[in-house]
Symmetry: C2
Subunit: 399 residues, 2 copies
């Protein structure tokens, strides 16, 4: 007996789990994924409700269906409408020094949620996970966690409402107690069913899921949420993290905790197309926040899969196939102005805009995002990292 | 596929692992165990060497072969002879409030080692393990850990050389880093081979072995052994704990650590005989440190399996079978005076002493041990527990 991969996904030739995202030529079938995972679709009524409750326009990731699925997000909104609070939890596995734009997506969205709902946020840096999965030393994992913290802080989080922690530094105490409680509720067969481990996998992998589960429970953070053990938690994440939280939601009531709610995003596609996501292990699949203006424009021109026609003549005659066009997908993520986006899609679709022009536009948009990020990151000092990562109360966390 | 128990032990109808000790009618075959586990026999020359190096008579547990096996104990003695130091590690799973005399055996021996070699000692209270295996709450496990700490302190440990810690309180930081390093070196198949887990066992059980492994490494205790990362460790324990440390010794060089050495004891037999050990789940199998004088004498008279003959006449004629006689086994553990013990064995063996007389002697000896322990424990305050359990440097730990 070797690898026991989740069955349904194998039959569909579509593999989506926290360590692998791959699909056939048609790209990832997100509809199928929602059905397989048993989560819910994020509909227009819910998005309208977010706008109404927060008094802000919904984030472009919501308007454009990039965050497209959820679990019990409506319950969070019900509570919020009644004047109750919740907290946010998201995270990052620090496997590389430089982030790419796909890595920024959940943090951009989380920042919007923090601002809109005025709620505290915990950010888990799973340096232990990266030590367990990658061939890194403990010290290198911890160093990458701090470097990644700087990129996260550069997204503009409020230090008065945000606690960033590395597992190696923070695990212990109440957090560790919750880990052990979760572990007692989950059998080996169960984690194999959810995550597809093999018997030759090391026990660190098998025992890691509780570590990612427990930030969902306020009792894991007594310095933040003492006396608020029933506070609800909302987790913005990409849909490949759903297996962790399916497990978490299953265990929660058995240890007297509330189930976390989720809002789940699509993946940021690789430059090569939708069949996989931007990957740190293939530098040409992604735009990094450390890429120069030239490099960004070169990558877009050279690698971004185009839905345009092979010649200018054909393009003018037939127009581009927007369904598979990567520049359009990226503009969808990163171009804020809805009107501009519509104009580009219209012109490109009817053939009046050529691929080269659209790629040039995209290069400008991406470089603008990277430039803004680089400037913000340069302002982040070691002292700021220490401030965000200190285990401390957040006196004004709901303010 | 269900339970995968270690094969060799099953064939022999003798099961010895950290959770189960059972054997056929003949009692546990310790010789076979040494061969199966691949540890070494503790011979007379080594015991003489301990006496010579420490300038003290060897403990009765050594003189009488109750600590009978080891792993690389000779290497520890080699180093000590050259003027190098080591530290001691032992532990207890706090599954019950009251200890029995069998529980005291490793602590009595460890106290002797600490006094004789003048070395620091770490004592792990695995309250997390007991939470994972028994149906206890976290708070109850932590409470039992503190109660057991009082019984351990009552054995006379030196607060200037001893650090007692509960996993729930102490795990984190360097200790947690070592846990994760060990976990990365051990596959699921490996822990199944060593411990016999089933696929229906929860992942807490599967991931626990690293927790018991890492106190073997000085780097797990930076507040004690900073800059002494290659300090050797000696673990006094009962032989059923050998599987944990076989695993630990296998992993140690792969993460740049020294292998711990071991001295391993026989089990304290149940009152009913050698085929199992004293068990907290069967109160009549053991003498508790909380038992009254009457209860001790009643238990000895009623339950201690006798090798004496059925009638006084037969006993006078044939004498007792000392090989299976539990009172003699217990006197072997707890009667300090070698000469007295020989006299009793001689008289009982040749029929001049009757079972009733030997049981009366044993009752007196055991009550004396319990009385001494009870008095010492009554002196242990909450403040003393806090002092032993504070994560602090031990300024005079080798003094």
């Amino acid at each position: 007996m070797t690898v026991v991969a989740p069955k349904v996904e194998k039959e569909e030739e579509q593999v989506v789990n926290p360590w692998e995202v791959s699909a056939g030529k048609g790209g990832i079938d997100y509809d199928k994924l929602v059905d397989q995972f048993g989560c819910q679709r994020l509909d227009a009524a819910t998005i309208d409700r977010v706008a109404r409750l927060t008094g802000r326009p919904p984030h472009r990731f919501l308007r454009r269906g990039l965050f497209f699925a959820h679990r019990d997000f409506n319950e969070i909104l019900d509570l919020y409408e009644k004047g109750e609070k919740f907290y946010l939890y998201t995270g990052r596995g620090p496997s590389s020094e430089a982030l790419h734009l796909g890595h920024l997506v959940p943090f951009m969205f989380t920042k919007y949620l923090q601002d809109a709902f005025k709620v505290p946020l915990v950010i888990q840096l799973t340096d232990d996970e990266k030590f367990l999965w990658k061939n890194l030393t403990v010290n290198e994992s911890k160093r990458l966690a701090r470097e990644n913290a700087k990129d996260i802080i550069a997204c503009g989080f409020d230090v008065e409402k945000t606690f960033i922690f590395s597992d190696f530094n923070f695990v212990g105490g109440a957090f560790y107690e919750n880990m052990v409680k979760v572990a007692r509720c989950v059998t080996y067969n169960k984690v194999v069913g959810i995550f597809g481990f093999s018997q030759e996998d090391h026990i660190g992998k098998i025992s890691f899921p509780p570590v990612q589960a427990v930030p969902s429970f306020p009792s894991s953070f007594p310095h933040l949420f003492s006396g608020m053990e029933q506070l609800r938690c909302l987790i913005p994440c990409a849909i490949d993290q759903d297996p962790y939280f399916r497990m978490t939601r299953d265990v929660a009531p058995r240890i007297g905790c509330q189930k976390p709610s989720l809002t789940e995003s699509r993946f940021s596609p690789a430059l090569q197309g939708e069949s996989t996501k931007m990957s740190a292990s293939d530098p040409n699949s992604a735009i990094y926040v450390t890429d120069s203006e030239e490099k960004i424009k070169m990558k877009v021109n050279k690698y971004a899969f185009s839905g345009g026609q092979d010649s200018a003549e054909l393009q003018r005659e037939l127009g581009a196939n927007l369904e598979v066009d990567v520049p359009i997908k990226y503009l969808n993520f990163f171009l804020e102005d809805d009107h501009d986006l519509e104009q580009i899609k219209k012109g490109y679709g009817d053939g009046s805009l050529l691929t080269g022009k659209v790629k040039n536009l995209l290069g400008d948009v991406l470089y603008e995002v990277v430039k803004r990020h680089t400037r913000a990151r340069a302002q982040v000092t070691e002292e700021m990292v220490d401030a965000f990562m200190a285990a401390r109360p957040l006196p004004n966390m709901f303010g």
